[in-house]
Symmetry: C2
DNA sequence: ATACTGTATATTGTATACAATCAAGAGAAA
DNA sequence: TTTCTCTTGATTGTATACAATATACAGTAT
């Protein structure tokens, strides 16, 4: 058994993971009692976890009607795309002067790994590497609040499915995205923080691209 | 007696207001029992409110040691200034095409009111109008998530004091800020959304200005 | 006087009990 | 059959009780 800080945090992690992994989705209602039974805890820590999950954007709370998973609809997708660019761009700007030789090598390696994944048609692998790539410089921007915002916004892209696009089209899209990653790596190597911010914000996260096209 | 949605929300509002108004500050510890006594409620809704307040950035929670007000130090001020520009700029971009004739007139009126406040040396009044000015277009950006982010970040500027700067210097700073507001109004009137975003982000919220210099 | 240790008190974390509201279904009236 | 109402059970909101940990302080040893 894991030694959690508190039962509240245990419950929090349990539900957050269920949502991130897609086991809970849509507008699923969460029954407090059901969670209690599943984790063998009382309602108190469960409710505390639910309140925190709602505050963190995982859930919605209808008064007297309980909590349900916040659905990912057209509108919230738009809202996220409208915000992520400026934040990710700013993170890149801040991270740029904080990167050392090894960091830049890591980015280049990730870029080339993604290229390999595309060549082999390993879409899932590409997706993972993509997150690692962006995470790498975001984590090094030196701004905890910014890191938190970006992490929260990115959650919505974790569950994205490519099923509705045919395989060849997907490859084309990923290749385009990775060409942009190449430019991002180039700007990091050149130490052009300002240009980097502009490129990440206005090109890579162009507001005109649909959510499933970028990144 | 107010008819609150729930006692939890009642407690939440009470403490949030105490913090926003400056009655609670620094690293003040919050005693659960003390809040219970003050509001005549049990610990359950109090704890639920505290958890939500912590999740919303008002408080910090040291396990087994309770909640305390998150202090505003040099570092978190820097973090906020690094983020607010891109977000406020994006809000202006999104709001621009959504403004009608009346909205633009409102912005112009607020700008001129601020000019009047400066002329009369009414610094507090200027501050209030300033918030109203920025709030006006942020509220109209059509992105609830973005509105929430900007609101949360702005909380930190509400309690700012000018005490450590002499009066003449303050006037100079406010005049400079309001000149920038004039340009912002001009861009709104011209409908130049892109230029507006750039100006708000890179000039008005220039990362080089200290927090107490801008806005 | 200072540092350490043990105990008492206070505070936080969790469980349970109670109150208030909501949802579903049975039965009656149209 | 449909709709309304009433009742019953389930679920949420709140209070209280108990358990675990931390804090404060007195007493002792160095």
């Amino acid at each position: 058994m894991d030694q959690y800080r508190s039962l509240k945090d245990h419950v929090y992690d349990h539900i957050a993971q269920a949502i991130d992994s897609g086991r809970l989705s849509g507008d699923d209602k969460l029954s407090e009692q059901q969670i209690c039974d599943a984790l063998n805890v009382s309602r108190t820590p469960v409710r505390e976890a639910l309140i925190q999950l709602a505050s963190d954007g995982y859930l919605e709370n209808l008064p007297r009607k309980g909590f349900h998973v916040k659905a990912m609809n057209e509108e919230s997708a738009r809202e996220i795309v409208e915000i992520i660019g400026p934040l990710d761009g700013r993170a890149a700007l801040l991270a740029c002067p904080r990167m050392d030789e090894d960091d830049r090598a890591q980015l280049q390696f990730l870029h080339e790994s993604m290229q390999l994944a595309i060549a082999k048609g390993m879409l899932k692998k590409y997706d993972d590497l993509q997150h690692e790539f962006h995470d790498y410089y975001v984590q090094r921007c030196g701004n905890e609040k910014l890191i938190g915002y970006v992490r929260q916004l990115n959650r919505y892209f974790m569950k994205r499915e490519y099923a509705h696009v045919d395989h060849d089209k997907q490859i084309t899209l990923l290749q385009q995205a990775n060409d942009e990653h190449a430019e991002i790596v180039r700007l990091f190597l050149a130490g052009d923080a300002t240009g980097l911010q502009r490129y990440v914000r206005d090109v890579h996260w162009s507001i005109d691209n649909a959510p499933f096209l970028v990144w």
